[in-house]
Symmetry: C2
């Protein structure tokens, strides 16, 4: 069936396209009688307004772009779900862009804003520099950030207090009797990771313990990276009884390394991760982790961003810090 245009409906109903448009958009300036005629015609022709025409005229695509580094990692999937749901309730659609962890691709994707393919863009833990992002926001493009924080009046950000996470984990490990604990960073460019490291340092400082650079290593947030990083540290200075990994993936790598090296968890080595992904509850022992309300972060940011697109000014703070909670499980119980 060929799809019909507004003019077809107009002709069938013996009115002008303008009137049809008014009916479609619920304008009150239409007689009940003509409205009925028009609706009848719409029904008979099985007419659906063409989105492109509508968008061009209204200069709104009702679409949000979402840039993630990899759709498959559950951290991102959960955020996307939150974004998608909120966007949908507010009448928006979402365009997913997987940057494949390439910064170059992220830069490219900003063009979606320039060419007005989307009304706004949500970047999830982006690799772009603060300058690149702010310069875009300054150009009146609508951008929102998840898992990263930039102080800018027009950039809403939704993130967790990573420093607090760092401190809290350290406190937990201290309480469990550990004095020397390693820290595995993630991407060098990830503020998440950097801030968690700072929190780790603060925690140690508060307890009057020294910060030992040899207990720090980093990787790219992947299981393999965690595995390698742990092995490096272990080979360097065997002197530690706990590991705090910047995310669960890396913590899983630690599990693997420990299994290989015959190090038992948690007796000989306590392990704590961040994100509390599903797998943490399937490994033995269950992995202690910090749960971030990812779904809520996605949803909250989306709501704010759409508000901004619609022009709601000053509806609240641009920085939305969301509280995360430490979930203690078998991998970091008392004693050790």
């Amino acid at each position: 069936m060929k799809d019909s245009k507004i003019i077809d409906v107009a002709q069938k109903a013996k009115v002008s396209p303008a009137t049809v448009s008014r009916v479609l958009n619920g304008s009150s300036l239409v007689t009940e009688k003509t409205q009925k005629k028009v609706l009848q015609a719409i029904q008979e022709l099985n007419y659906t307004p063409n989105a492109m025409g509508k968008q061009l005229r209204s200069r709104r695509t009702m679409t949000l772009g979402v840039v993630v580094r990899d759709i498959r990692v559950s951290y991102n999937a959960e955020i996307i779900k939150g974004i998608e749901n909120m966007a949908n309730t507010l009448g928006y659609k979402i365009l997913i862009c997987d940057s494949q962890n390439e910064k170059e691709k992220e830069v490219e994707l900003l063009s979606l804003l320039q060419n007005r393919t989307v009304d706004g863009l949500i970047l999830v833990t982006p690799q772009l520099s603060d300058e690149e992002i702010t310069s875009f926001a300054d150009d009146e493009y609508t951008i929102g950030l998840i898992g990263r924080r930039i102080e800018h009046p027009d950039i809403p950000c939704s993130f967790t207090d990573n420093r607090r996470i760092g401190r809290e984990v350290v406190e937990h490990l201290l309480e469990a009797g550990h004095r020397r604990m390693a820290f595995l960073c993630g991407f060098a460019d990830a503020t998440d990771s950097i801030e968690r490291l700072e929190g780790y340092k603060e925690g140690l400082a508060e307890a009057g313990l020294p910060f030992l650079p040899e207990l720090i290593d980093n990787g790219n947030f992947s299981e393999d990276a965690g595995y390698e990083a742990f092995k490096r540290i272990w080979a360097g200075s065997g002197e530690f009884t706990a590991v705090f990994a910047a995310n669960d993936e890396m913590a899983l790598g630690v599990y693997k390394a420990c299994a290989e090296l015959g190090i038992s968890i948690p007796e000989r080595m306590a392990v704590v991760g961040v994100d509390n992904i599903r797998i943490t509850n399937y490994v033995e022992p269950k992995l202690s982790s910090v749960e971030q309300p990812l779904y809520e972060m996605g949803a909250a940011l989306t709501e704010k961003l759409i508000g901004q697109i619609k022009g709601d000014e000053g509806t609240g703070p641009q920085l939305m810090q969301i509280r995360s909670t430490l979930v203690i499980k078998g991998s970091s119980g008392k004693g050790g």
Copy 2:
């Protein structure tokens, strides 16, 4: 910075919009000199062609819609990744729609095709009936299916031979010495599940074993459902030594139930799932499963669908059956 239009570029370069358009689209009918002028003007104005204008005129959105039941489940995420990558290489973007497992929502989403928001729609294990889908395809709308099979000249489908999967798993279990094996179905509407059940029956029949209805139960593909289903069967007729779950999630539910009931895997009970999701390698014992090349399924279908949109006719069969492989792990070793 206000974004500029093609007319602005035209004025700045002292040419007509038509010429600018030609330069933009690499038409060969432009003098090198004017081309230079135009490019110069484009650069100076930092001009980017507006996507909506372009789309309206060309009647192409260069966007594909993807409907999944839940973005978070890794089965879907993997498929989406394949779709996204292929779409991207071919210049397409993807609009993600999470149907929240509601059929009603799926129906709604078909409107994306009607109003031309997308050029084509990919449905991943959809809940819509064959009739609903084919009637849409008959209306010249471009639809593709993943994980489901409909015989229709205009509907490309990418799926695995579920019946074969069923037979193969049964054969494997028979070889390991099992004679009575339970089967846990998934969604009642999922052809995947139904076909696997048929394969299971065929496998039994080939071995001359009877099909026992009391060893069949079903759930909704979730871990909880698997847990409940197993408990029901167990309570009914304790007489079986292996379970074949229609997917890994349900198999994980079986693990949970067995742990509670003190049934050891694989000694007392062998377990096999389907999908070979990541968690299967983190549980103890590792879960035997059937690996489906999800990424490839997504990518292959997308390529075909875009070909169809572009008008490549008859470039191959509409039905793409992709071979899956049984991965035997600890949960179904010999003996039992």
